[in-house]
Symmetry: C2
Subunit: 87 residues, 2 copies
DNA sequence: TGAAATTTGTGCGTATGTATT
DNA sequence: GAATACATACGCACAAATTTC
């Protein structure tokens, strides 16, 4: 892994938006799935890593992934990780 | 309001149980609804009050009420409160 | 008008437990 | 057993919606 594997800039999640940050994050991830950047079966970064990388709290990531699980876009397996659903 | 409006003892929620505390709390509230102690339309105590009264974290109450909302046993209105659903 | 009180919603940080590798 | 990753639980602070005065 390079020292700087920073490919795409993290979007700025705005706390002052009427849209909660966790929804912004969920939409951001959903968009990456929709665009094909995240393929079916692909594993998402660990939630703590996403928390750090996206500059939001772990709790916020948890809310975002909970939304995406409800939307059936991802599945989460304890101890393994979070994956883009196979279509 | 009396100084001590402590009618029924709070059950002991066990953190070491395989059943998460928030599920135990949800089941406890569901049982009070099923028994008729909490009638349809009745407002539940404020979540922060339940947190204090039941001796669990606000986060835990939030998880419990989220479960009950999913089960359609209660409805929550921001700024108003949480109510037992009208049958 | 609007200010205060009440209640739920969101966001952050931390610690510990459980499951998988 | 160790490392990794999700799950639960606690505490705190501030924002938003509702009601009341």
């Amino acid at each position: 892994m390079p020292y700087h594997d920073h490919v795409s800039d993290s979007p700025e999640f705005k706390a002052d938006s009427p849209t909660p940050v966790y929804v912004q994050v969920a939409d951001y991830i959903a968009a990456r799935i929709a665009s094909g950047e995240l393929q079916p079966g692909a594993r998402l970064p660990a939630e703590r890593d996403m928390s750090r990388d996206l500059g939001v709290a772990y709790d916020t990531i948890r809310r975002a992934t909970a939304l995406l699980r409800e939307r059936k876009l991802i599945v989460t397996v304890v101890g393994k990780g979070t994956y883009v659903v196979e279509r």
